[in-house]
Subunit: 231 residues, 2 copies
Amino acid sequence: MNRIAIERKVLSENDRIAEELRTALNGTDTLSLNFIGSPGAGKTALLERTLERLPRGTRAAVLTGDIQTENDANRLRRYGYPVRQITTGGACHLDARMVETHLRDWIGDGLDLLLIENVGNLVCPTSYDLGEDAKVVVLSVAEGEDKPLKYPGIFRKAELMLLNKVDLLPYVPFNPELARENARRIHPEIEIIETSYTTGAGFDRWLNWLASRVERKKVSVKPAGEAVATA
Amino acid sequence: MNRIAIERKVLSENDRIAEELRTALNGTDTLSLNFIGSPGAGKTALLERTLERLPRGTRAAVLTGDIQTENDANRLRRYGYPVRQITTGGACHLDARMVETHLRDWIGDGLDLLLIENVGNLVCPTSYDLGEDAKVVVLSVAEGEDKPLKYPGIFRKAELMLLNKVDLLPYVPFNPELARENARRIHPEIEIIETSYTTGAGFDRWLNWLASRVERKKVSVKPAGEAVATA
């Protein structure tokens, strides 16, 4: 078997596990999001502020992936939600098996929201379905507005782009309008929200997006008859 | 053959081509550097300023890798040196075969310096020898000082870390001393130079490093007798 055939086999095995995960998460009305971005795009800080501001009573949990260290899990644990670190030990992305292994005993808890922070990498995580409802790409304004054109895969697959660290806009040569244009050239329907951990900018909009998606998930996974009844 | 065996075979085939490249580049006293960093770490801007400030008469050339677009090559071509874009079409790193293919007809030109800008990715490029004399890791201060601990592979293999975008230090929560400590925990001998495209900070030191390595290369590849004679 050659390399490409092996790669296809690995991906199709991943897809199978991801589908099982998706079915399990649909069964508990859990909205699951897969956050993908470069190292240092601000994914962890963004999740920290998100956990801090989640509506009371939200049943949320976080899986956070890194090659090494428990740093991110330690940062995220301060907000009172269950958090698990997945250390890949070298792999450049999470895969569905890693998520399944770390998620297994949480499935029965009836989570509203599962936040998965992928390994910092704008390329490899794109190919691995984790059973999520949506991918969210996090792009920092320190990275340059050309990134959607250079790394089109993730911008094509993500439903939402969080254009992050907008507090740095006065200090970096970054044109947000051009970044939006570039993202929309790759994916015309992508939603875009500008965010900053430092100033809190954009978090109202981002948390509204999140709340509406949690809500929509609860409606959409009901049998057709019930969904009509609640409409 | 399983996936790991295939991976080993790919890497050993890569190593073979990289060794051929190394022999060819040694034959022409060409110093070759492989620049690795996250998307948006500032690799291209750093190379732009480097080309702008290279001593007159330096025979330099650039290979620049991206998944898509010719953007970087177009930026780098403005400085009068030969530049070629390698678009990987999806692959998350350059490999020795891509370099060999794009470099082939330059080998006879007797270059002093070959600058290779890898795909923006702090993980995958680390495993692929490109026949270079040294890897240089570029870390932007916007990325956070924990990156050497989270992505130890590249910091272990790089001879030099360019701590880049230091002009942003007043605006980001980044402790340069801690970043240095973290890099040295992974690789005690790593050299570190702080740089900024915007202010030009650190470029004298970086260009001196480069000049001394170009010089050392010319001495080191001479037969032992000659090297003694010039000492």
